[in-house]
Structures are given as structure tokens and as C-alpha cells.
């Protein structure tokens, strides 16, 4: 990286955080087996953590030396609202997946996100969300046999019902 490179908003903080985190990892790696032997289980973790520390320090020094980028802001260029909202929603999805189940959580997730990101009407969002989730469900649950949390939807009973309608397909 050349020194002439400009520093984006938040880049210096990121560089400092990864340096501190690398230091913590080096300490944790040292605690695996210390300097017991070169073939010890902690040897590679220590070597990689030490490499991280050295490179992170170099990156931090270069980043702190570089000039801040003109006309960029953290809120607009690095963490705009759609990105923050999306990260929060993915976290919320993971939290609700077990209690609510795959179908309702996914429906809400996709419909809300389309609405937030594109500003489309509620009917459009609900239709796109429902149809795409139905397709994903058929492909992954029915064809690939990927088991997703059922939650409040009695999926097994529903699938068994459809199974009885097409007994030859079972």
C-alpha cells in the first residue's frame, strides 16, 4: 500500500481494532502450549497470530499516516442505513428462526427487506416474498431434503397431506 493512499471513514478505527484483536489472538495462541516445542499444537496458531499482529501493526501505521478522504462520511459511504438495517434484520432472522419457523420468518424477512430497500407496495412485497419462498422451500426442503425449523407451522402434517394426495409419488 502506498503512503499516498487516502483513508476512508472508519478505516483507522478498523485497523486499530484488528491490531488489538490480533494481539488478543496471539496471547490466546501462546496459552495453547507456549514455547513447548516447534511441533506443538500451538505452533501454527502462534505463527499465524504473530503474522497477523505484525501485518496489522504495519497496516495501522500506514493507515494512520494517510490523509482522510475528502467528501466521504461514515453514515453515507460506509454504513448507510440500508446496510445497518439489513445486518440487524439478518440477526433478527437468526433469532426468530427457531421459535417462529422457517416459513413465517423467511416471509417476513424477504417482504420487509424488499419494502425497505426498494420501497415497493405491500402487495408486491408479499407476493414476491411468498412465491420466492415457496420455490426455495420446494427446491430445498422437498427436493434436497434440507430440514429447516418448523416453528409454528405444522410442516410435516402439510407435507403428509400432500403426500396422501399423490400416493404414487411417495
Amino acid at each position: 500500500m502506498s503512503d499516498a493512499r487516502v483513508r476512508r471513514p472508519g478505516e483507522a478505527a478498523f485497523a486499530v481494532i484488528i491490531t488489538a484483536f490480533s494481539g488478543f489472538l496471539l496471547w490466546t495462541a501462546y496459552r495453547i502450549s507456549g514455547f513447548e516445542a516447534l511441533s506443538s499444537p500451538g505452533a501454527l496458531p502462534m505463527a499465524s497470530a504473530a503474522t497477523m499482529v505484525v501485518s496489522a501493526v504495519m497496516i495501522a501505521a500506514q493507515t494512520l499516516r494517510s490523509k482522510p478522504a475528502d467528501g466521504q462520511s461514515l453514515r453515507r459511504d460506509i454504513m448507510p442505513m440500508p446496510i445497518v438495517l439489513t445486518i440487524v434484520m439478518v440477526g433478527a432472522y437468526a433469532l426468530l428462526l427457531k421459535p417462529l419457523g422457517f416459513l413465517p420468518t423467511s416471509f417476513l424477512f424477504v417482504a420487509i427487506l424488499i419494502r425497505v430497500l426498494g420501497g415497493q407496495g405491500i402487495v408486491f412485497c408479499a407476493t414476491v416474498s411468498a412465491s420466492s419462498i415457496l420455490l426455495i422451500y420446494i427446491v430445498f426442503r422437498v427436493i434436497f431434503n434440507v430440514i429447516m425449523p418448523e416453528g409454528i407451522v405444522p410442516e410435516r402434517e402439510i407435507l403428509a397431506f400432500f403426500g396422501r394426495l399423490w400416493p404414487a409419488g411417495q
Partner: protein, 497 residues
Amino acid sequence: MQALNAFLIPILDLQLLGLVAIGTFAGIYVGAIPGLSVTMAVSILISFTFKWDVYPALSLMIGIFMGGVYGGSRTAILLNIPGAPAAIATALDGYPMAKRGEAGEAIGITTVMSFFGGFMGIIALAVAAPLVSEFALKFQPRDYMLLAVLGILLVGSLSGDSLVKGVFAGALGILIGTVGLDPLTMADRFTFQMPELRGGISFIAVMIGMFGISEALMQLHDVNKAAVKQKISRIVPSWGTVVKYLPLSLQSGSIGVIIGALPGTGGDIAALMAYDHAKRVTPNPEVPFGEGAREGLVAPETANNAAVGGAFIPMMTLGIPGDAVTAIMIGALFIHGLNPGPMLMIEKPDMFWFIVGALTMANCFMLLFGLTGIKVFVKIVEMPRSVLIPLIFLLSIVGAYAVNGSLSDVYWMLAFGVLGYFMKLYGYQLGPVILGVILSRLLDDNWRRAIISDQESLWLLLKGTVTSPLSALLLLSVLAIVLSKTKLWRRWRGQAA
């Protein structure tokens, strides 16, 4: 005879043939839609196919890989947005052709030339891989260790402007790969006394996070960007056009094979180098380069597809992935109980020939699907990102959850997705992270074998390295990469120039 039988499996078995076809078809669309990438698709796909038999799973993934490398050119031509890094050079002349109303012709040329390139790569793989793997049997543990370090450094140095950031990313990947119980001594490594960490961090969660979530988050910056509409003209190029550009295609394909076979390089570098070559060997094109020169399509498109076969050579023979996509392919082979490297070529040569057969069929399907259905395709790529991106997130979450039925994998995916997003924003390369995760076991095993056989002595290890021609060459290559990025080297080169 055994090789021929294995080669014919994906051709004669209708189920496998169908999966290669579906994969190639899906790959073309995945590669073409901005915001979706081959790496993302293959990493998500592993999570759904890991329970399958190895042949069907590989058939689908190889199809996606081959189709995806080609598919990137479609949006490069139609929208001036390369669907994949390998299609960056294609946009330079493809989009000006589309603006002149020649989008159909541009797509036709890229498809036929990608087909030629794909075959050149496959032939090179079939001829070179058995020879390389025989040679690789002479490798010592220290050679594998150096080769792994070399691969990570090359990806780090070539895929970004900063070697230091590449080194950081590679070391981070290696460290992530060591999390869990040490397979030799059962010692806890970075488990923080949490039972769920003892099995390690699912590399699929890391991959989906780094390539799926982070890319989708990046796409949110341009969520409301409107697609450019294009008219489609004649698609299949005339025989005269094909013959005219065949010599350039052969030269570019050779560049693609060689570049693709080098660890750390891939279709993107091959395409750019071939584009540069085309400019040098075509001093008087009918249309200037950058304004819609057909040579500017022929060279990169032949090269990037030739690089696919090339990239399989180090992957299959040495177990060293050339780039992020082949790193993920190695991960897929691991999941199916296969260990790529010279022993795989000896113990299971049928697997190698099966892959060659599947690549061949994927290449044929690429030609077929590439020249058809373009009008429908145009409609699909015009899908608003505000609809596409939520679906990418959903597929990523389902993919991360499906492997172990574990929510912690979803949290890891999200964490690595956010980390990957910031790393991308601030110029850190993500390829070395995945390479590090994949190669960490190989590095750990071979480092310990090497140092134990040298009686725990660094001096003996170093002595062994410098006295063995192969080890010395690998060590020199590692040092050369590091040295080439130092200020001292730049200053010396500046003076020499």
C-alpha cells in the same frame, strides 16, 4: 480403459448429464447477475449438496463453475457491469458493441470463443495433470508447506494493491482453520471452553459469510441503480468470423491455461493479460480497442475459460487451490471424503477423469445455453436489486443453517459477512482468507512432519530446504514475492528504469 470409462460417466449417465446441464445453465445466470458470483453460488451450493454422492454433487458444481465464468460476460456486454471479475476486460469492448446495437453479435462471439478456451483448458488439464502429479510425489512435507504459503502470498499479492493486507488475510484464514481440537493431540485451540467451538468453525459458514453476505452488503450501495435496456440482434457468429479470430483465440487460450495453472492467479488476470496481448498483436483493428473491437472480446473470453481447466491442475495434483473458487471446490472435495493431491490421482484416477468428463460436458452445455434464450435472460438480469438482494440473504442463511442444522453457523456467517464487508471496503482481499482456511490443515500437518523429521531443529529444516533444489526454488519464490512488494525493490527498479 478405466480412464475412458470414468471420463464417460458424466456423459452416459443421464442423471449426471442433467445435473451438469442444470449447473451450467444456473451458472450462466449466477455469473451474469450482478451481485451473484460463482464463489458465492458454489459456497452456498456445498451446503445443500454435502449429503449427496460425490458424482452428482461434483457434476452440479462443475457446471456452475464453468457456466459462471462465462456468464459474467453477459452483463459486461449488456449493462457494462461485469458479472464476475474475469469479465472486466470483456466490458471494455463488449459494451460499446452493445451501444452500437451489436449486443447479439458480441454475445455470440464471446460464447464461441469461451467454448474454444474451455476446451483448451480441459485438454491441458488432461495432459498435464498426470505428469504434474507424478512429479509431485517427490515433494517433501516442507515443499507442501512452502507451496501453501506461496499460494496464499500469490493470491494476496495479485488480488489487491497491498501485500501486507493479503498476508494479514491469509494468516487470519489459517488461524480460523486451526480453531477446535487439534487432531493429533486433542489440545483445545481457540475454543474458549465453548463446546460448540471444539469441532471448529464451519468453513462453509466462513465462505458464505465472506462471499455471499459481504458481496450482498456491498451491492446495497447501488440498490436503486436502474438497469440499461438493450436490443438483441443476430447471435450466432458467421463461420468466417470464427475462422478469422481463431489464431488470436489459440494464443489467448494458451495464456489462459498457463495463468490459470499458476497458484494465486485466475480467470480475471488471464483475461486482462490476454486483452493486453491482443492489443499488442493487433496494431490495426477494424474498430479501435475500447470502442468495440472484436479482438477485445475474443482474447479475454478465450483466456478466462481456458483458465478454468488450468486452475484445476494445481488443485487436483497438489491440493493447492489457485484462487477462491478452486479453494471452495477443494472444500467440496474434502466434504465428500476426497483429498486432492498427487495421491488422489494415483488412488482414485477415475475421480480425475470424471472431472475432466464433467468439464467437457459443461463446456458443451455452455455453448448450447450461451447461444439460446438470450431474450429471456435480458429480462432476468433487469430484475431490481431490491428484490434480488433479500433472496441472496435468504439463500445464504438457509445454506449456512443447513449444513449442521445449527444456528451458531448462521451467527458465524453473519459475523464473517460483516467482517468481510469492512475488509472489502478498506481494501483487504478475501481470497487469501478462504485459501488460508482450506490450507491450514495441510500447513499444520506438513509443518509438524517437517520439523519432527528434522529433530525439532529450525537449522536442520533450513539446511534441508536450501540443499534441495525444489525446496530452494519454492523458498526463493516466496522471498521474491515478499521482496517485490518492498519499497527497497521499488526504489531499485525505479533506478534501473
